[in-house]
């Protein structure tokens, strides 16, 4: 038997595979297709204090081995989330991380405070990296000071796991990573989507209404991996790798590079069973390489 468990902060995950925010809804949408309890954890759709209806359509378009989205953090708001969705998690035997965003630091804090009072999530993923909102989101994540300040503010509100999710759309991601690690984050997750654009040459219109959106899927994997490498070389806190992960081999690349866990996003759209298959494939790899514990491969990259 291989040991797939990973520990981040005080939280033990039964395996290193989570679902990425915004790609697995609130966790109850496809529970008839995959057993959520087999996952290491789920990260919810990003929750904001007030409900957001999101951006006008078209919101998505396919690109070569990827897709661009401009959902705009459409979500039901923290109050409805607590009432309608959180009760479902009581029956889940997996870790639930609530993704949180806001337009100001106060906004982030209000959501976390509300959740701290009302529910018992295993932790928070602070989304300072959404490219699809006018305010907040990526503007926090691309500024060292703001990233530090929002991390500090949230840290003071909770003793639960605080994961800061970074945007790759910056000059130096390791710089930002260093700042949030210093400010008390337990963990860093990366990457959120890359800014991207596509044009319909027949109509000469952008293929999504907001013109620029977030590029995700297999096409971003090598760039995301390089970002994870950069951040792992810089900070000592655990890192969760995200970006185009669609197979066990993809996930293993991130683990070997230094991520202690991964999140699966776009792959779940074209293959709802992808997260579960990835867990199985990691297990097979460990078995066939006689590795007893998944932590043995984390950061095992040979750089000679």
């Amino acid at each position: 038997m291989v040991d797939l468990t990973v520990k981040i902060g005080d939280i033990v995950f039964k395996n290193p595979v989570l679902t990425a925010s915004g790609t697995f809804g609130y966790g109850d949408e496809i529970s008839s297709l995959i057993d959520v309890n087999s996952l290491g954890g789920i990260v919810t759709k990003t929750i904001t204090f007030s409900p957001r209806e999101g951006n006008p359509p078209p919101r998505i378009t396919e690109t070569t081995a990827g897709m661009i989205n401009s959902i705009g953090l459409a979500n039901i708001g923290v109050e409805r989330f607590v009432k309608e969705k959180a009760p479902i998690y009581k029956s889940f035997d997996t870790r639930v991380i609530v993704s949180v965003a806001g337009e100001t630091i106060d906004d982030y804090c209000r959501v976390v405070e509300y959740l701290e009072k009302e529910i018992s999530a295993d932790g928070y993923e602070i989304n300072i990296s959404c490219p699809n909102t006018e305010k907040g989101g990526i503007y926090f994540g691309s500024n060292r000071e703001m990233s530090r300040n929002v991390t500090k503010a949230v840290r003071q509100l909770t003793s639960k796991l605080v994961i800061i999710k970074l945007t790759p759309n910056v000059t130096s991601i390791s710089d930002i990573a260093g700042a949030v690690a210093d400010a008390g984050a337990d963990c860093i997750s990366l990457v959120n989507s890359f800014v991207g654009m596509a044009v319909d040459v027949e109509t000469r219109k952008p293929k999504i209404k907001k013109i620029i959106g977030g590029l995700t899927g297999p096409c971003i994997k090598p760039i995301a991996l390089a970002k994870v490498y950069e951040v792992c070389s810089k900070v000592d806190i655990p890192v969760i790798g995200i970006g185009g992960i669609s197979t066990g081999e993809d996930a293993l690349e991130f683990l070997i590079t230094g991520a202690c866990a991964v999140e699966v996003g776009t792959a779940t759209f074209f293959d709802p069973k992808a997260p579960v298959k990835i867990i199985e494939e990691i297990k097979e790899y460990l078995n066939s390489n006689n590795i007893k514990n998944v932590s043995e491969i984390v950061g095992s990259l040979i750089q000679s």
Binding site: G22, T23, F24, G25, E29, I30, S32, L33, K45, E53, G54, P56, P57, P58, R59, I60, T61, E62, T64, A65, G66, M67, N69, I71, A74, G217, P218, C219, S246, T266, T268, F269, F270, D271, P272, K273
Partner: protein, 265 residues
């Protein structure tokens, strides 16, 4: 309703015209449980090109043989690849998805424009043994875009075919012929309209129905990434009881009461 995500064998794939194909897959679970208006998400190959599954309305089922059928038109790379798949091969198929057409009346008017006809065919076929009066308007550009007219003629009380060039049935746009029939009083009594077709047609049918006080449901299209409510990518604006909001075409639809749709230009 349960959702299935299975690797299904292609039972047959036949071309109906230069660019239209009829595909049957083996899926006893979906075949048994799906209802008209619902759709499938089909992964056309195991590659990342194209990346996403493609949505197709269910056209017919043969529950005894466990078969589910779709009819599709080649419009881009995904449908091109699908048209080149062969019987005996396997496809990942997710379904049945979405909300169905809801029948509340004895008189049904089904309006299918172009490749929008499959879900309405399913509806006509599905309820053929019920004692309802079914009138089917089926429009296309030319006669080469009209399929299964013999079968439709059998399962409907009345089939009205329209082509823009007049090569089959009445000449003109399906919407014009429909209005003419409403004006001349051929359609009488309480009837419900169900439509599926290009957005311009659906929009026009919806406004005609409003004008003539006919209840109508429409099956909408949208680009979709997941088909299951995960991505929030497939929204349409609706206005219901003064409340304006986005709904998901994949989960809240694809069938909607047409009077709540806010049609974007």
């Amino acid at each position: 309703m349960r959702l299935y995500d299975k690797r299904c064998e292609i039972k047959f794939i036949t071309s109906l015209s230069d660019d239209t194909y009829h595909l049957g897959i083996v899926s006893p679970e979906i075949s048994e449980s799906c209802i008209p208006g619902q759709f499938l998400m089909v992964r056309v190959n195991d590659d990342y090109e194209p990346l996403l599954r493609r949505p197709f309305s269910i056209f017919r089922t043969e529950p005894k043989e466990g078969i589910v059928e779709i009819v599709f038109e080649v419009v881009g790379k995904g449908t091109k690849i699908l048209s080149e798949r062969r019987s005996g091969e396997f496809l990942d198929v997710l379904g049945p998805l979405g909300k169905e057409f809801k029948i509340n009346s004895k008189n049904l008017i089904l309006i299918g424009g172009g490749i929008g006809f499959p879900p309405l065919f399913f509806m006509a076929d599905f309820q053929k043994s019920e004692n309802r009066n079914v009138v089917f308007y089926y429009g296309a550009r030319t006669k080469d875009g009209i399929f299964f007219e013999k079968e439709l003629g059998r399962i409907c009380n009345k089939l009205i075919i329209t082509t823009e060039d007049g090569s089959l049935g009445e000449k003109g746009l399906i919407t014009d012929v429909f209005i003419k029939d409403l004006e001349t009083g051929i359609i009488r009594g309480e009837a419900e309209v169900f439509s599926c077709g290009p957005t311009a047609m659906s929009k026009e049918i919806s406004s005609i129905c409003k004008r003539y006080n006919l209840k109508s449901q429409v099956s909408l299209e949208s680009v979709m990434a997941c088909g299951t409510g995960l991505c929030q990518g497939c929204v349409v604006r609706v206005e219901n009881a003064q409340k304006s909001e986005y709904k998901l075409v994949c989960k809240d639809g694809p069938v909607f009461d047409s009077d709540i749709i806010i049609w974007e230009d």
